[in-house]
């Protein structure tokens, strides 16, 4: 029953039952106000006068003493970073991507796959360069001279005692005698191998092959400039600087760690040039309104594309973002313009001013100032408004020299391998030491494996000496208990010449097994073995540190491919406890 009917019925009863001597008259009237105004944002098509009226309400017909901007010219200064330095004198930046240059690790190709890859490559080049019989003869000679080897496995000694992991071992056996050793080859070629010993063989043709081969090898991996590495193993950081040609702007990255190098990897900028000198000017850029996909057009009734729907957004936190977008879309958005400004990768750019010309030819000059550039309040970093600046976050005042944009030549798109090695450093308060847990390490072929599994495969399960104890009913004194063999200890030591500063030095756990002489447990990773023998105490915070070695590949602006092995340093998993105990009795 409709309510309308109920109303009629009620009134009729009043009229009839109570003999009401009055026939009430009603004016039924509509209201156009709707407290739920979400639908109004749809700006629906309505009758033409309503649409015009809406435009009027939203101020689209107000005349203004003003003109739309039609042209903008930017006065700017640009400087290209040209040099790179670590602690030594600056080197010229070549075309190598900056990340590769900073991060690249030099590792000798000691794993089996690398050796085979290199060896087979050389053989392929020989086959391509010589007739088949000659090529075969060369290859046979070379294989005899430079047989595939492995530090654990001598040429024909495949005894179990020298076995590494099973898979690598099988690979080695298969390859042995059928390919020359790539690493040996590289070392030999460095010594001008093979030296001509007869006139029968065409050594010069082989030299051509070797040259081509060296080029191939050089191209395959980016090498770390050995005399000037950015990596500071004691601090677990990369430290480097970029310089403009005259050193009048130097960007410093004293503690770059992560796997992505960008403008914010630089902490400080030492700028001595005057950004208002030597200004250049763009010509006639056309400003367009700042807008984003799905933003309502500044014109009230313009159609949005239905494919992009920001109304679906479900972001809250006091709906600040919604407020921001609404305010921008409906109120202020039409007063912000954007122009593209072309920059070369590796450039620093200071904008001095923007001259904006409106459709009447009237020019307005827009500058940043203390009021509109970095907005500072009481020197409190939490009350500074600024972004994309390479500098300390607590500026003492507005300094135009700091107001540059650095377009970092960074590698956004790259292919990265799974970690080849991974070490997790954690502090062990109970043992008063630091552990480096090997989590991933490569096997002899060079393929990454779970480190614990590999330790287990190589050394077998730990057999406690208890097994040989004659009497099991008495408590046993133990010098120390054991930890998993992939836990590498780092022990605090005073740094030479200092009573206060402490460095963590890599040590060894003992493998004290039944029936065997105690031996050191050697780490399996390059990082723990060679790279990180000593680390400053402060480099391992209580939050822990995770270090990875990964291979990375990218194509750069020249279309070339760059492959390098790089370190990545990240936050660890906090503190840990190995359960290591010394001098205890075991029931």
């Amino acid at each position: 029953m409709s309510y309308y009917f109920k109303l009629l019925k009620q009134l009729r009863e009043q009229q009839q039952g109570a003999k009401l001597d009055y026939t009430p008259q009603f004016l039924l009237r509509g209201s156009t106000r709707n407290a739920n105004n979400t639908d109004a944002l749809a700006m629906r098509i309505a009758d033409p006068l309503w649409m015009l009226g809406r435009q009027w309400q939203f101020g689209e017909f107000i005349g203004e003493d003003n003109g739309s901007p039609i042209q903008a010219n930017v006065q700017y200064r640009k400087e290209q970073v040209a040099n790179y330095s670590t602690n030594g004198s600056p080197l010229t930046l070549d075309s190598t991507p900056l990340e590769a240059r900073v991060e690249a690790v030099n590792i000798e190709p000691l794993d089996l796959k690398s050796k085979v890859r290199i060896g087979q490559q050389y053989e392929r080049l020989i086959k391509a360069a010589f007739p088949t019989p000659t090529a075969k003869a060369w290859i046979n000679n070379l294989r005899a001279d430079l047989p595939l080897t492995h530090e654990k496995w001598e040429a024909h000694d495949f005894t179990n005692a020298n076995r590494q992991d099973e898979k690598s071992y099988r690979f080695f056996k298969l390859m042995h005698g059928k390919v020359l050793d790539g690493n040996s080859l590289l070392n030999a070629l460095a010594d001008d191998y093979p030296k001509p010993v007869d006139s029968i063989h065409d050594y010069s043709a082989l030299q051509v092959v070797s040259t081509k081969f060296k080029q191939w090898y050089e191209n395959l991996y980016v090498k770390q400039p050995e005399d000037n590495p950015a990596w500071k193993p004691k601090q677990l950081v990369h430290e480097f600087h970029l310089h403009t040609p005259n050193d009048d702007a130097i960007l410093s990255a004293p503690d770059y760690q992560s796997g992505h190098l960008d403008w914010y990897s630089f902490d400080t900028a030492k700028v001595t040039l005057n950004p208002s000198d030597r200004l250049e000017q763009t010509t006639d850029l056309q400003p367009v309104n700042v807008s984003f996909a799905g933003m309502p057009d500044k014109r009230l009734f313009s159609f949005e594309d239905s494919k992009i729907d920001l109304s679906m957004m479900d972001v809250k936190k006091g709906d600040l973002l919604k407020m921001m977008l609404l305010d921008f879309s409906l109120v202020s958005g039409s007063d912000w313009y954007t122009i593209p400004l072309e920059m070369q990768l590796g450039e620093l750019c200071w904008i001095d001013n923007i001259e904006v010309k409106d459709v009447f030819g009237v020019t307005t000059t827009i500058r940043n100032s203390a009021k509109t550039g970095s907005i500072l309040a009481n020197g409190n970093p939490m009350k500074v408004w600024d972004m994309f600046k390479v500098r300390n976050h607590n500026p003492s005042g507005y300094d135009p020299r700091q107001h540059f944009l650095f377009l970092a030549p960074t590698a956004m798109h790259r292919l990265e391998s799974a970690p080849v090695e991974e070490l997790l450093f954690l502090r062990d308060e109970y043992a008063n030491m630091v552990w480096a847990i090997e989590q991933r390490v490569p096997n002899a072929m060079g393929n990454p494996m779970d480190a614990y599994d590999l330790h287990l495969e190589l050394y077998g399960p730990f057999l406690p000496p208890d097994d040989i104890q004659a009497r099991r009913d008495l408590p046993k004194f133990r010098l120390a208990n054991t930890v998993p063999s992939n836990w590498i200890p780092y022990l605090p030591n005073h740094i030479d010449g200092s009573n206060k500063e402490i460095a963590l030095c890599r040590a060894y756990m003992l493998r004290n097994e039944a029936a065997n002489e105690p031996t050191d447990i050697a780490p399996l990773s390059y990082l723990a073995t060679e790279d990180l023998e000593k680390i400053y105490e402060e480099a391992i915070p209580k939050a822990g540190v995770r270090i990875q070695l990964t291979k990375q590949r990218m194509r750069w602006t020249d279309g070339n491919t760059y492959v390098w092995m790089g370190r990545k340093v990240a936050v660890g998993k906090g503190e840990g406890n190995s359960g290591l105990q010394f001098d205890y009795l075991k029931d």
Binding site: G30, D262, D267, P287, F303, D305, I339, F360, P381
Partner: protein, 1424 residues
């Protein structure tokens, strides 16, 4: 200059936008045509277009050909190509090379007239020079200098400098600083030099303008209510993808739609006086609107406006006048306007008939009582139309003036104009947005209640004999009084229960609300506030129209028709009993609804007009009934119930609106009726022109332009600029800075948009968030940092004290008041968050004692920790904003949630430098050799029989099995008893079997392969230990090593995916899948199935064959040479065979249909069948179809073009290097490389070859895997002499965006053959990016730009009743000025009037009658 065009033809005015600036003692003005003028149509065709157009003409399947055209050109250009005539092509040398698209304005007026309305001054007209290039004024590109250059714009006729002389001012007079209005008009002349153009020629020009739009961005009619923005539950009615929709576009753009009078296209064609031809191709042109609204409006007149007239004027208005007004109302008063809205490009334009009634207004006084004015209007000499209509004009003129006066006097209509009258912007925005175009809720008029209350009070007093004056009491007190009086008298109580209830309701409605807010409260009080049932009622209850109501109404009006017939026959209507009844009687047998009430009341009132006219009455009854029945049919015709409800509700609301506050609809009706009259006399022809307006222009006296050098130095500091690495970041930076500046008046600390994203803060926050991602607690992370600071400051002792004071609490999540001891306190680190939060805790000062000042004030350690949190929040906040503007809503929400601590921080992206570049993709594909005619594989070699290509591939890798051998030594304890040599061919198994056996270790003698080897020695081994030696027998290849090779082969197969036909498509070709080859696999599986089912009858006889299947029992029996346990075997077979059968049957269903989409699902059914036979790791590959294009590409010398030869770039060697690089980082390529290493030492002389295929430049452009230097080398080389295809790439561009390379690996020299099945695997696929050396950074700046826009309407100007014979610009300006007023009147609603009325203390009914055209009051209990 005078326009000489006749006012017998209307003028269509397109909108313009104007901008103004005061410079010195002048006002500068610019005119910009709106998008309705903007064109980019190019009538000439490119060579390619001509070719495609001719192909379309020749095509037999037009729709298919159309799809191709749309795919290439979009629907609108395709529509032009389809319709362009041979004759046009023959006459014009249309074919030309591809030219850059130009944008221009077309059909502009010959010159513009500017009308200035200085404050308190008279209208001043300024005319400037002719518009140059009115037919083709360039908007973008060569010739658009006028857009930037003001002087050039003046030369073009698109700008004005309005001087004192123009305003007739002398030098001593000040130039006005305020203009109330500025109006611009312009009139289009088709033929310059011939002013006497005619309206038909002009109509052609208009049609051409429409046509040009049609072929560039299309034109649509829009449904009423179409959203232009996206909102929560509704999407905008437009998408760019519409252009590529083929079916509907074909129907509209190619075939066209039939138009009738009731369709939007038909109505507009008639209104504009142009042919249907163009309008037939507008989208939505044919959609006839439902007749329900129109008929409902017509049928309810006498219950609404008509009843009101009767009540106001009584018998002063004769029946004929009522009829006339009724007809006028029905035909010309439209709540939604006369024409549907048009969409041109992305702009909607309403089409609004307009005129001016200024002449009438001049003749009457605003204060003339309407009744007097109407009753005396018959004497108006100048009124040439019907008196009734003239009276209508008269009434409307008076009301128009009164409403404008109300506005001028400050009637409150919300607006976001600069002057907010002290209201905040947010509140005003809320008020503006809360307005709806039609009424959405309804309520009773409060004045009626006041009267009702008075009457009831009088009556109560009389009935109850109360002496006290209840009127002086509040209604609440009155209620209490009555209640008290009745309390002791039950019979009276019952008798007056209704009265009491009513008073109670009134009490709640009127008394419980404070007087000062009663107006608002009552205004918004819905009708339901009278409800007494406690139900929650919605507006649907008021407007509900159910099927039963429809049926009852239909029955009632059918009966009316019968009654009318009978009345006609009998000369009066009588019942069967012969009783004469009232003609207004109608037999409606349902509870009343508002709809039925209105209809029936209207019917009754209508018939009462004819009560004395027996001749006319039957027709009136029949006509009304017929209309009502049609309306009910229209209701039925709406299929969707939702749509039906929506339409009914909006129709009723709009009818109530036009009978209450929609004065604008009534005033517009004058133009509508004038237009109708004009078209009745002159159906064809139209003039057109342009118009613009702004109002309230005021000189900015603070920021005066320096007229000498045209500079404005005063607003540089408004917002400054922001420079970011990319435009996308600059956008987000702008949003935040804008929000920051908007909230700048807030205290610094509370401005939530204060972002500090400098480099060291980002590092700091990134490190902090990394810790959280590693599952560390925020409290601990901050604690670690604090302890580090303390340690560095030499304050180690404070660390331990603070750990005690602010311990980390572990596992306290489940702690409750009842279980306060859950969890424990950890003293391993200071709780950093507690240290920050409890800054005012005396404990802190007490704990730190002497070091407090140093730690808190000097070292500012708390601030440092807060800074870490703050920088992380800033980081996440920026990320959220960035993702939001990128349309990544879920990422945005994730960042915000992380900022709130609800989620762990996502990986952030917003602050990175994103260098643009070219995206490329690569695939590494292995195609296997196919079995040759000699490679007959028996069904007994079951795996190979099903998957022969794997068998052949392995065969080629391993070579002859007889060459692979091992030595087996048999021991008795440690004594060597026997040595046997076994070669693999002795094992009676195929290569595929070996593949699957290779996985097991050759160590303890238990693997199947080992058992088979021992078995093959034919040595009685049971009592001895067998040892398979690693070294092969002399002259043989090692079995152990062969197994290793197989392991790598297996790894390669299982880590790759199978090749699909689309993987090899070149140039977008669509290759049909090879169902025949797939069916062959099925047939083989079916054969195996049959064999198996027959073999299970005598399993022992087929042990060897059955042992090849996944039948453990058969294998066991075979390897141990024992009898099969039939029961166990049958159990296994019972599981296996039904699965196989089921999959094969399902496959056949798909095969019958051969739907391309079903190809791979069908293959997977076969795969499941095969795996049921052989185990889950069995590898079956689908056949891949090979096109002629691929065969040609692979077989040609294309390789040299793509990768050079051995001397140049390196060819094979170069691809090998590329693969080696990939293998460093990608697992698939690494697996392939390992396989390749093994394979090359096993078969050193194998001829392997990579081949490159690539898209989109499949033939001639170098391989995209090469460097730029290498590409240059190839391009410059002799290979490319005469080859120009690579020039498709732009200068300086080396890689086609989206380029795709397919690196094909085949270790066979066999030629590929088209239309044969191939089998292969995709070993690797990845995307890469070659960055540009330069990029556009984003620089945004603040500039206070004008906000005005062109009006969103095409005005169809019709002459007023007293118009001269010819159009003139001034008349157009008058019409535009009236339209500006009318637009404002449209925004006055009942709420505004009521608020105003209350604010002024005007509580009485007369004020509303004074202001409203009609009022839909009615006497509810009239139905008996």
């Amino acid at each position: 200059m005078t326009i000489t065009e006749s006012t017998k033809t209307p003028v269509l005015l397109f909108p313009l936008k104007i901008e103004t600036r005061f410079v010195g003692d002048e006002l500068w003005l610019r005119i910009f045509p709106d998008e309705a003028f903007l064109q980019s149509h190019e009538p000439n065709l490119s060579e390619q277009e001509l070719e495609d157009r001719n192909a379309y003409k020749a095509a037999s399947d037009k729709f298919e050909a159309w799809e191709l055209l749309v795919d290439r050109y979009g629907a609108y250009r395709a529509a032009y190509l389809v319709q362009v005539k041979d004759a046009f092509i023959a006459q014009n040398d249309v074919a030309q090379a591809e030219a850059e698209q130009t944008f221009f304005y077309k059909g502009l007026p010959e010159k513009f007239h500017v009308y200035l309305y200085p404050k308190d001054g008279k209208r001043i007209e300024v005319i400037k020079n002719a518009v140059e290039n009115a037919e083709h004024l360039v908007a973008f590109g060569d010739g658009d200098e006028w857009v930037e250059d003001f002087e050039q714009a003046i030369d073009e006729g698109m700008a004005f400098k309005i001087t004192k002389r123009d305003l007739n001012l002398d030098n001593t007079e000040d130039f006005p600083t305020v203009f109330e209005r500025i109006i611009v008009t312009g009139f289009y002349y088709r033929h310059s030099g011939n002013r006497q153009t005619n309206d038909l020629k002009s109509a052609e020009g208009l049609q051409e303008l429409f046509e040009n739009h049609l072929y560039t961005e299309g034109i649509s009619f829009l449904d009423y209510g179409t959203p232009t923005n996206n909102i929560d539950n509704d999407r905008s009615g437009y998408s760019i993808k519409d252009e590529f929709e083929t079916a509907e576009n074909y129907k509209v753009l190619v075939e066209g739609n039939a138009l009738t009078d009731g369709t939007p296209g038909g109505i507009l064609a008639k209104g504009l006086g142009i042919d249907n031809k163009v309008l037939q191709h507008f989208k939505g042109t044919e959609k006839a609107a439902s007749k329900f609204p129109q008929l409902f409006q017509k049928l309810t007149w006498m219950a609404l406006g008509g009843q009101s007239l009767q009540m106001i004027f009584g018998d002063s208005i004769p029946k004929e006048t009522h009829q006339k007004l009724w007809q006028y109302y029905t035909e010309h008063v439209h709540a939604r306007g006369k024409f549907a809205t048009l969409k041109i490009d992305d702009q909607p334009y309403g089409i609004l008939p307009v005129t001016t009634i200024g002449e009438i207004q001049d003749k009457i006084s605003i204060n003339t009582p309407i009744r007097d004015a109407v009753l005396s209007a018959g004497d108006a000499e100048d009124v040439t139309v019907d008196v009734a209509i003239s009276n209508t004009y008269l009434i409307l003129s008076i009301l128009f003036q009164r409403w404008m006066k109300l506005l001028a006097d400050g009637l409150y209509v919300p607006s976001l104009a600069d002057n907010l009258d002290g209201n905040s912007l947010d509140l005003e925005l809320y008020r503006v947005l809360s307005m709806q175009p039609s009424s959405g809720s309804h309520h009773f008029d409060v004045q009626r209640y006041e009267k009702l209350r008075g009457k009831i009070e009088d009556w109560i007093q009389e009935q109850l004999g109360i002496s006290e004056d209840l009127g002086k009491l509040s209604i609440g007190e009155a209620y209490e009084k009555i209640n008290h009086l009745l309390a002791s008298n039950d019979s009276k109580k019952r008798q007056y229960a209704n009265i009491l209830n009513l008073v109670k309701e009134l009490k709640s409605l009127l008394e419980d609300i404070p007087l000062e807010s009663r107006g608002d409260a009552l205004a918004y009080a819905p009708i339901f506030s009278l409800k007494n049932t406690g139900e929650q009622l919605t507006s649907e209850d008021l407007f509900q129209l159910e099927a039963e109501d429809i049926a009852a109404l239909r029955a009632a009006f059918e009966q009316v028709k019968v009654d009318a017939q009978q009345y006609k026959r009998t000369g009066g209507y009588r019942t069967n009993d012969g009783i004469e009844v009232q003609t207004t009687w109608i037999n409606y047998r349902r509870p009343a609804t508002l709809v039925s009430d209105l209809l029936l009341r209207s019917y009754a009132n209508t018939m009462s007009l004819y009560q004395d006219d027996e001749a006319a009455l039957p027709s009136a009854m029949t006509n009304f009934a017929n209309d009502a029945l049609q309306m009910l049919n229209a209701w039925d015709a709406i299929e969707s119930e939702t749509e039906r409800t929506k339409l009914v509700q909006s129709s009723i609301a709009e009818v109530l609106d036009v009978n209450s506050y929609r004065l604008d609809a009534w005033i517009s009706s004058i133009a509508n009726s004038r237009l109708e009259a004009l078209r009745a006399n002159k159906p064809k022809g139209i003039y057109f022109g342009a118009y613009a307006w702004v109002e309230d222009l005021e000189k900015d006296t603070e920021k005066i332009v320096d007229a000498r050098n045209l500079t404005d130095e005063n607003r540089e500091d408004e917002g400054g600029f922001i420079h970011c690495p990319t435009p996308a970041q600059s956008l987000v930076g702008t949003l935040f800075k804008n929000a920051y500046l908007s909230s700048e008046d807030q205290a610094d600390a509370s401005n939530p948009f204060t972002l500090n994203l400098t480099s060291d803060r980002i590092q700091q926050s990134e490190q902090f968030m990394q810790g959280i991602r590693q599952d560390q607690e925020i409290e601990a992370l901050l604690g670690y940092k604090l302890e580090r600071y303390l340690h560095e400051a030499g304050l180690n002792s404070a660390i331990y004290e603070l750990r005690e004071a602010f311990p980390l609490e572990v596992n306290i999540i489940n702690r409750t008041d009842n279980n306060p001891d859950i969890g424990f306190k950890s003293l391993s680190v200071i709780n950093g968050l507690a240290f920050i939060d409890r800054q005012n805790d005396p404990l802190l000062r007490r704990t730190l004692n002497g070091t407090y000042t140093r730690i808190i004030d000097d070292l500012k350690l708390r601030q440092k920790l807060e800074d870490i949190l703050d920088s992380s929040l800033d980081h996440l906040f920026f990320e959220a904003g960035f993702q939001l503007t990128q349309g990544n809503l879920s990422q945005s929400a994730a960042a915000m949630d992380a900022a709130k601590g609800a989620l762990e921080p996502p990986a952030t992206d917003a602050l990175k430098t994103k260098i643009p570049g070219v995206g490329l993709s690569h695939k590494l594909v292995y195609l296997f050799p196919l079995p040759g005619p000699e490679d007959t594989i028996s069904i007994n070699n079951a795996k190979a029989f099903i998957s022969p290509y794997v068998e052949i591939w392995l065969q080629e890798q391993l070579g002859d099995l007889s060459n692979i051998a091992c030595t087996v030594q048999f021991f008795d304890e440690d004594t060597l008893v026997e040595t046997k040599e076994v070669s693999l061919d002795q094992l009676n198994i195929g290569y595929s079997d070996l593949l699957y056996m290779s996985e097991h270790e050759l160590s303890d003698g238990t693997s199947e392969l080992e058992v088979r080897i021992v078995q093959a020695t034919a040595f009685d081994a049971e009592q001895f230990t067998a040892n398979i030696m690693a070294d092969p027998p002399e002259g043989k290849q090692s079995l152990v090593q062969a197994v290793e090779v197989l392991r790598y082969a297996k790894q390669l197969l299982s880590k790759s995916r199978y090749v699909k036909t689309t993987d090899l498509a070149l140039g977008g070709e669509e290759i049909a899948p090879n169902w025949t080859a797939l069916k062959l696999i099925h047939d083989n599986l079916r054969s195996l199935y049959r064999q198996t089912t027959t073999r299970i009858d005598t399993p022992d006889a087929h042990k060897q064959a059955l042992a090849q299947l996944q039948l453990t029992e058969a294998k066991r029996a075979y390897l141990s040479d024992s009898a099969i346990d039939i029961a166990a075997l049958n159990q296994e077979i019972k599981t296996m065979l039904p699965t196989v059968e089921g999959q094969l049957l399902q496959f056949m269903e798909s095969f019958q249909e051969q739907d391309a989409e079903a190809f791979y699902p069908a293959f997977e059914q076969l795969q499941k069948a095969a795996q049921a036979f052989f185990g889950k790791d069995f590898i079956l590959l689908p056949p891949t179809a090979i096109s002629e294009k691929i065969v040609k590409a692979v077989g040609s010398n294309q390789q040299q073009r793509l990768i050079g030869d051995a001397n140049m770039i390196g060819a094979q060697e170069r691809i090998q290097t590329w693969m080696q690089e990939i293998a460093q980082v990608r697992e698939g390529a690494a697996t392939f490389e390992e396989w390749q290493m093994l394979h090359s030492i096993w078969q050193e002389d194998t001829n392997t070859a990579f081949q490159i295929l690539q898209n989109p430049t499949s033939d001639n452009y170098p391989w995209i895997g090469l460097s730029k230097t290498e590409i240059n080398t190839l391009l410059e080389s002799a290979y490319y002499e005469g080859i120009t295809a690579f020039q498709e790439l732009e200068a300086g561009q080396y890689y086609p965006d989206g380029g795709e390379s397919i690196v094909l690996f085949r270790n066979t020299e066999d030629e590929l053959k088209a239309n044969t099945a191939q089998f292969g695997i995709v070993m690797e696929e990845f995307d890469e990016h070659v960055p540009y050396e330069k990029m556009d950074t984003g620089l945004s700046f603040h500039y206070n730009a004008p906000n005005n826009e062109a009006p969103q309407a095409l005005l169809l100007a019709v002459p007023p009743p007293f118009a001269p014979n010819s159009w003139n610009e001034k008349l157009l300006a008058d019409i535009i000025q009236d339209t500006m007023d009318l637009m404002k009147i449209r925004m006055i609603d009942l709420d505004a009037i009521q608020v105003d009325a209350y604010n002024r203390g005007m509580m009485g009914v007369p004020i509303l009658n004074h202001l409203l055209p009609m009022a839909n009051w009615f006497n509810i209990p009239t139905i008996n």
